[in-house]
Structures are given as C-alpha cells and as structure tokens.
Point group: C7
C-alpha cells in the first residue's frame, strides 16, 4: 500500500486527516468589514465535565478556533501563539494575520511531505490589523482559504449554507452571533451550547464571549 | 496496513492505546471548590504481593493517578514529577496545575505524530494552587479534560454514573471518599481494596490516604 | 510494492504527482518576443469565499502560476521567491529566469530520489531579463520545458490546442489575454473567472491584472 | 501487521517477551523482615557443561536473578551492576534498592516505545538498605512489583502457590531455603539442582550459596 | 518483495532504471582518432514548445548527452559540470575525460547500494585531452564503457547497427554527422530533428551544432 | 511477519543464526585442569585450495575457533583480538578469559536488539590465566557457556556424545587429541582433516598444531 | 519476507549476490612458488566497443581481477587501490597481500550486516611480497580463500577442473598462460579473447599482458 499518493494521485493521508476534521464539532467563522466572529459548538458532554475551550485567544488582536482531533487543534494553537509572541519580541509589533496564517500553512504542509502523519485538524483564524479584518481557514494539507465565512467539522455544509443565506455586509455583531447560533443549531438539529469569540476593527481586540446555551 | 490513520480518518494506534486504558483498574477523580479526591482500585492480587502504588504524590500541592499499562503510567508520573521540580528550580514557586497538565498533554501528543507508539495510559491530576482546586484528565492522544469528576479504566462508565448521581458541590471529604468507594465497588460488583489521595484548598497539600479495604 | 520504479521503469510516485496536477485548475502561459502572459482559471467557489490567488509575483520582473495541490504550489512559489531575494542580496542584481528555473528544477528533482513524496504541482514561470522574455514550465519530476505556450491542470490538452491555433508572434497583450480566456472557457465549456498576469520586455515588470469574469 | 499494539490494545511484542520469560528456568524470590532469598533452578544440562550462573551479586548489599533469554538476563544484570557502581562513585553510598529498581524499570520501558525489541527477560532483585529488606520483580514492560514472594519462568504458578502455602513471616533462612527447594522441585516434578542467594538485614550482605542438588 | 536483488541475483531497480533509459530519445556517440560526435534525436514536440537541449557543453573540451528521465539527465550533467570546474579550481588544468567519467561512475554506483533509487538515465561523454579523443558511456549501474560508437535510448540497437555498418576510422566530421543522422532516422523510421555536438583533437573544443531538421 | 519475536516468544533471527551455525564444520573444545584443546574439521576442499584456517591465535595465552558463516567467524575473531590487544595497552597485562568472553557476549547480544542481523556463528574460546584453564562457548544470542567440553557445527550432537564418553579429568594432551579426532571422524563417518590448538596451564601459551589428516 | 536470513539460516541477499557473480565472465587465478597469473575472459562485445579492462594493477606488486556486476568490481578495485596507497603513505612500504585482503574482506562483510545490499562481485588478488607469492579470492560474504588456483564467474566449475588437471608446481609462466587459456576456452566452448596479468616473485612486479585472442 502506498504511503503518500494513491494511483489517482490523491494524498491518502491528507484525505484521512480531512475525514478526522469532518467528525469534529461544528465550527464557524464569519467576518464583515468591521468585525469577525468565531463560533464553535460545545458538544453536549456528560455531567461533571467542564466544557472544552473551543475559542482561543492567540494574541490581543487575534483569535482561533478549530475542529478535528483535540490534541492536534491544541498543538496548532500553541504553534501560532508562540509565533505571535516571537514576532512581538523580534519586531516589537503585533503580528499581521497574513504572516501568521502563512507560517501555520507551511507548518502543516511540512507534515504532508515526510513519513509522519498530517495533522487531523483544520483551524480558523480571526484577527484585525492595519489591513483590516481577516478571516482565514487552514487545512491539514496546508491550504489557506480567505473569505467572509467558513464552516468546518460535522455538518459543515448545512451550517455554511445557513450562513450564506443570512449574510449581509452590514450585519451587526449581535445579528452575526444570532446567525451563527441559528446555523449551528440548524445543522445539529437542536439547541446547542456554543462558544463565541469576536474581534472588531475599531478596537483590534479579540474577546471570548461568555458561554451561551 | 496504514500506520497512522485508517480510511475513516481515525488514529488507529491512539484507539488501541485507549483500549489498553479501558483494561486498567477502575480509577476516579472528583473535586469540589474546597478539595479534590483521587481513588483507584487496587486490583485483588495474589498472596505475598504488595499492592501496587496507585496514587502518586507529584509535588506538595499535586497528586496523580492513572490507568493502563503500568510501565506507561509510571513513566508519565516521572515526567510530571520532573517537570514540577524543574519549575521550582527555575521559578522558585510551585508549578500551577494548568501549566503542568499542558506540558503532559504536549508530551503525549508528540508520541502520536511519529512512527513510535502512543502511551497506553490515561492520567488524572489533582492539585491546588492560587487559582483554586483543579482536576484534569489527560488521554493518550494528548487531549485534556477538566471538570468535577472523571473515571477511567475498566467499568469507567458505571463508576462515573454513580459519582454523577451522588455528587453535590457541598460534599465533605469524608462523604466524597464514601461516594468514590461505592462507585468503584458498584462498578466492580463487590468489596474492593481502594487507594485514595486528597488535596485541600485550605492547606494546598496533597496526601495519600492509608489503604482502606 | 516497489517504492520508486515499477517493472516498466516508470517512477510511480512521479506519475501519481502528475495525476494530481491534472486535477488542478486549468492554467496557461504564453509568450511572444515582447511579453509573456499567465492565466489561471479561478475555480467557481462557494459563496463567502474569496477566490484563491492563482498568479504570484515572485520578483519585480518575474511571476509564477501553478496547478495541483494548493499547499504544494504555495510551497514552490515561496521557494522561488526566497531564491530571488537571496540572489538580490548576494549579487545585487535581479535573478535571471534561467538560473531561477534551474534551481526550482533541482529542488523538485531531489524529492524524486529519496523516500519522501514528489510535489503534486507543476509551475509556470514568466519573466523578463537581459536575455529577453522567458516562459518556463517545471514538472514534479524536475523536468523543465521552455517555449511559447503551456497549459497544465484539468483539460490542459484542449486549452493548449486552442492557444496553438490562435497563436501569432505579433499578438498584442490584449489579443493574448482574449485568446487565453477563450482557451480556458472553451476547455471548461463555459464562462469562467480567470486571473491573469503579464510581464513586458519594455518595462521588465510583472503585474497581476484585476480579476475578470 | 501492527508493530506495537494489536487491535485489542495489547503490546504484542511485550506479550511475546513475556512468553520468552515463561520458557525460562523456574526462579523464585522470597523475603521476610529479616532477610530475602533468591533461588533459581539450574536446568539439568548435558555432561561436561558447567551449570550457568543464575544468582548474581550486584553490589555488597544487593543480588539479582532472572529468567528468559540468557543474553538478555546478563545484559540487564550488567546494567544494574554499572548503575550500582556509578551511584557509589557519585554519592559515596550504596544505592538503595528502590532507586536501582526504578532505573531498571525505565531502562526496560524505553525498549517498548521504539521500533526495537523489548527484553525477553524478567529480573528479581533482593537487597537490604536503611529502609529494610527489599524484594522487587521487574518485567519486560518495565512494570515493577514489590512483595514477599515472586516466581517467574516455567511452572511459575505452581511454584508460587507452594511458596504462598508455606510462607510465615517468622521463617528462618534455613526454613525459607527448604521451602524454595520444595517449591521448585514440586513444580518441576522432581529433584533439581538449585542455586540460592541470601541477603540479611543484620549484615546487609548479599551472598551466593554453594550449589545444592 | 526484495528491494535490491531478485532471486536470480539481478539488481531489480537497476534493471528498471535501464528500462527508463530505453524509453528515452535515440542518442548516439561516435569517435575517430581526430574527433568525437554526439547526436540526439529531438523528439517531435507539440506546437509552441522549444526543443529541449540534448547536447550539453560540460567544459571547453568536453560535452555530454544522455537519454532517460530528463530530470535525471540534467542532474547528472550538472554533476559533471561542477566536477570539471572544481578540477580547474584545484589543479588549474582542464579535467581529463577518464577522471571525469570515473567520478560520474562512482556517483551513479552509490545510488545502487542504499535504499534510494538509481538514476533513470545513461550519459555519453565526448572529450579531447592530452591522451587523445575519448568517448565514454556511463549506465545507471555505474558501469563505464569506452569505444568508437554507442547508442542509447529508444531503438538503440538498429541505430548502433547502422553506425557499425558505416563506420570507417578515416571518416570526416561531415561524413560522421551524415552517418549519425541516417542511423537515427533509420531507427525511428523517418525524418527527425537532431541535435549534434562535436569535439576535435586539433582544437580540443567541444561545440554544439545548430539544430538540423 | 514480525522482525524480532514470533508469537511463541522466540527470537526468530537468532534461531536462523543458530541454523547457520549448525551447517558449519564440526568443531570441538575440551579442557582439563591442565590444558584445553580446540579441534575443528577442515572440510574436504577441492584441489588447489588451501585449507581455511580454523584455529585462531587470539593472544599468547588465548585461542579461538568457530563454526558458521566464515565471514562472521572471522569478524568475531578480529573483535576479540583487538579487545585483547587493547587490554594489554591499557592495563599492561594479558586479558583474562572471563573479561574477554563477556565482551564478546555483549557484542553479539547488541546485534539481537536492533533491526540488523545477529551473527551467524558460534565461537569457542580456550585460554589460561591466573584463575586456571578456561573453555567458553559464545552463541549468536550472546549466551555464554562454560564447561569441560563443547561441540558446535554439523553433527555436533554425536561429536559431543563421543567426547563425553571418553572424557576423564586426567586425560593427557595426546589422549585428548586422539579423543577429539575420534569424535569428529565418528560424527562425520570417516577420516577427516582436522586442525587442533592447545593451551597448557603450565606454559600459558596457546599453540596451533600442524594439520593432521 | 525476511531481509537477512531465511528459515534455513541462509543469508538470502548474499546468495543472490553469489548468483550475480556466477553470471560474470569466466575469470581464473593460478599461482606457483615463483609467480601468480590472473586471466579473465573478455566477453565478445559488439563492434566499436573497446574491451572492458578485466585485469587491474592495484600497486606495483599487486594485481586484481573480478567477476560480477562491473560497477561493483570497479568499486572494490578502487577500494583496494586506495588502501594500498594509504599504506605506502603511512608506513612507507608496500602493503602485504594478507593485510590488503583482510581489509577487503572486512569491507565486504560489513555490507552483509546492515539493511543495504552486499556487493555482487567476487575478486581475485595476486601479489608478491616478503612472504612469497599470494593468490586470494574474496567473496560477497567477506569470505577469503587462499590457494594455488581459483575460478569465478560463468562456467567456473569446468574451468577450475581444467586448471586442476593441468597444474604442476613447476609450471613456467608460459605454460601457465597456455593452461589458463585452454581452461577458459574449454569452459566457454570456443576461442575467446582473454586478458592476462602476471606477478613474479623475482621481480615483485605485477604486469598486465597485451590482449591475446
């Protein structure tokens, strides 16, 4: 059995890693000119267990969320946190989102070239810098997507469909959060616990929002 | 046969490692605001054999227990003990539980990325620091869980069910120990030898309790 | 199963990598004595997603495009960008296209000799230097082609056929762009979003053109 | 075929190594508060062949025996001998039994984590230090057992059964040796050549006893 | 499946590499006492594509051609070019052909001994030095042949047959070129585009000749 | 197929190496308190071929013989020769036989632990030092045997049987040589060419004896 | 499939390498007290191809020939040539034949121990030093043979038979060359082109003889 490509020229381990992502919790990102929002379903857990953190502060102006193997998501979040701090130390300025996502992309890509495994996680980054508000999705293959809205994890397709339907460039943060909630609950078919994060162009601050049920 | 992912995108060796954990002795952790308790069944052994240590002091304010391959549990406990001492040497303060569990999580995760085997053991950490009482479970994949109660090893599900039923935020240590004993004995279907450990917010000391039969 | 050659003496992983290229978006390069043009179909994407960058500025006088795995294309573009900057630092002159493409060729070839995977991407470079206008295609095997016109990716054959039919050495840039658009749309069987880039001998500047639908 | 875990989550090479141990010669350890005894059957060998050494002096206060592949047993005994001497050199005191057995355990465990083979041998250590008399068994997986009595090798179960039956905390050394001999001969079904070693708390000296038939 | 030898004692990867060579373009070398000529069919290519360079200047007095995987041929030509320049730097004299071909032979041989792949290319070197005119063929196994005439690539056998028939030690360069052209066209069954190179003892200069159709 | 252990816990490569030994030429060692003798059948060879050296002088007081793959035997003999000389250089005394055989044993054992092959040869060492006369056999697994008599190679069992029958502690060297010759010829079923070596306690000199037919 | 030993304890790659040798050209060595001769059939080659060098001068007093993969033979000859020159540099004397052949033997043996391939070539060395005339054959396994006559390559058995029949210790060089020629031609069934080399005790010079048909 081939380790890298199958006979159709597909990277079989990357495809498996994407399968792992598609089993993760439903996770959405959305942005307008003024702000970006990250939302991730907190999977209904058993009693006595704290909900897992799904929205991560990377730096003052930057947040992340992810879906897939939790250990993989956490490792990638650590990776970008360290990159952001290193940038501050070296250049004494906050890292811009494009530089950060490119570094993450190269990190992920390297794991597809050698006889190790690619990460089983996709990450969505949201940030605000001098160039405006950014929303970026990075996949196990190291591919980077940019846009106004992304959905990853379980039932990503209906969730994205819902966002696309409700999207307007002049959404307020509150409207956006309501839209995200509807999209996740619609995809999952019921009331869900959801964690949100938001970054605004005006403040360039990324904040995690209190858990809403 | 693939080494890392199967075609469903599952990490096959991590799944095997979790199987190894599920054959270990029934082990429980529980916490309230005031204290955390660790309890682990000491498997009925043959004559002349000392019961294996199941509750480990990691540092003054921190204890651990685990389930799975004994050699793997011990190696992980050594790992966190050294990390705790290194922290004292470098910063001259006790390590906080979050930093310690994150390090353990990264250590375990690294073994899932390369052509070695993941550890066949899960660990529960209990500690008290300036932020309060902590109870954390770390799995072979490097995933970290936080909460009021965990069960790992054989018959973890009925044991956790029993704890959930009897849990109250105002439990005393004595009530908690009785609850843990009932949970383990209920799961195993009979009287068991159980080792306990407890850490209190008031004292920030982790103590192993004398073996109770 | 052999890792490198099959019994017919074909490099099986290189053939798989070429398969990956043939699934990429239709991408064309064309040059005359006066200019070179790169054009790449921007695949119809879902709502809210920004079109991926398909035409890359490598240096003032040099551009690139590619087809295949996006992470692989990006890594190769980064590779040539760094090579171009390194050349400027060391020699204080812009890198000539032949030196750059030879370096890329050697980089790709090295990945066919050892137990890693070859890149799943072909790249077309367009540039202008003291020797005139250059158009070069580099394949996963490290093979370099030079000429007046190339097509890679999905439906490369009909696209190349269309270009060959319409090619004249005295094409203007505008005529060339119209020809490229017809070739891509003809191959894909309908109106497409296409990104273009152009470099002229007169100015030795490579520019990305605004997205035309 | 998997190299580390099988689908039940068992470490297949460790299980094979334990099989190798179970084919070794019957070997027993036993301790009271006052002394510890090691006994190992010297397998009936062919004419002209000296009986293999089965009881090893590790340091003045410490002895070892083992069962399994002879080359593996010898390598492990060398390992602990060197550790004991290194301890004397560095700290100028005899090594305590717990430190020594923990080091052996870590050494064995490391061979279960990487693509080499685990040792096909179990070792029993007997020693006396400031904390009293110690009897420790270490397995190919790096698991350490402590207790009053152990049996490894062929027919370990009936041999251990015999010891358990005859064990009293107030055994004299002579009674213990007689018990060990009965246990080994009972398990093997006949008169055996047995090598013994003994360490007493009073003297903290480990001695090999003359071969008894 | 064995990686190196099959049960008949043949090096299976070298045989595969030779298969790759036998699919390359028909390529011939011929020498007399006064000169050596290299000729290689330039395969009929599609419109707009420049013919690939088939005759390579290695140093003033030395040229090369090759057949097989293009990336492999180019890498080998780079290898000998660097060796020739290094020799000039170290000894301040042009490298003699025997030293150069021996180095190439060792380079190729090393790739047959370890778990990488042998090169899928044969090379013919032509040069003139103090010892006269040299013509050398080096194969993927590192075997070196010396002689008056060689043919490699597709239809090498009939091409060599044709050369052998027409060879005379007193051929002029022009007669030799005509003979080579007839040999390639005869083997391929029709008019071909052919690239030639020539080195003369009198001048010790290797020159590529303008492409003749 | 497993590389190290089979499911019965046997080291499969070591077993294969022992098979290789059992195809070697019949080789015997024997000792009394006063001397040790090594004897090895020199296999009937074809005309014009010198008989291979079968008895090796390791140091003044030490000799060796072996059976199995000749290249492996020679490598092991070189190994002990170098060890003996190194000992003289460092300590300025001849190496004692126990130290030498332990080193050989460790050397052989290391090749059973990693993904290389164990040596396909057993070695018998004979020497005289301050502790008396020594006869040691070392196997591919690194196992060391000590005793009055050993036989390895083809028909080792009947040869050993013959020695055991004829052995007396008060044998003279001449009687011992006659016994060894009878044992080898009896096992092989006919007159054989045999090479002998002898070391005496009185002289502490190991000598090869002239070839006897 | 096992990489090193098969279940009969044979080194499967060494056996394959010997198969490769047995396909090489018929090659013979023969010595008397006064001289040694090496002879190797130069295989009938196609027109225009120079006969390959089959007899190699290693040093003034030393020559070699070989059979098997040509690239392997050449690499081994280079190996001994460098060893001979290194010896001259370090000790300022010509290397003796025994030291040289032992080094070659160790070099070849090392390639049988690790996951690379053994060399597919046997070598015959002929030399004269202070100890007389030497004739040595070294095989892919690193086994060294010494004697009056050897044959390797295709039809080695009948060729050796012919030499054995005609051998006399008082042969002259001319008689020996005639015998070698008859042996090779008899084995191959017809007139052959043969290359010879000779070294005499009187002169201690190894010379290649002009090609005889």
């Amino acid at each position: 059995m081939p380790f890298f490509y199958n006979t159709d020229g597909r990277l079989i381990q990357v495809d498996s890693a994407l399968q792992a992502v598609s089993r993760g919790s439903t996770t959405i990102g959305l942005k307008t000119k003024e702000f970006a929002v990250l939302s991730s379903q907190v999977r209904p857990t058993r009693a006595l267990l704290d909900a897992a953190e799904k929205i991560f502060v990377v730096d003052d102006h930057l947040g992340a969320t992810g879906s897939g193997y939790i250990g993989d998501v956490n490792t990638l979040v650590d990776e970008v946190r360290v990159a952001a701090q290193r940038h501050r130390l070296v250049y004494d300025t906050p890292i811009d989102v494009t530089t950060l996502s490119r570094g993450l992309s190269q990190f992920l890509h390297a794991f597809t070239m050698h006889p190790v495994r690619p990460f089983g996680a996709s990450v969505i980054l949201a940030g605000a810098d001098e160039l405006g508000v950014h929303l970026v999705q990075v996949d196990p293959s190291g591919t980077t997507f940019r846009g106004q809205g992304f959905a990853i994890g379980k039932d990503a397709d209906p969730a994205l469909e819902a966002i696309s339907q409700g999207y307007r460039p002049d959404l307020t943060v509150e409207e956006a959060l309501a839209l995200m909630t509807r999209a996740i609950e619609g995809a999952n078919g019921g009331k869900s616990q959801i964690e949100h994060g938001v970054v605004r162009l005006a403040t360039r601050k990324f904040e995690r929002l209190p858990l809403a049920t």
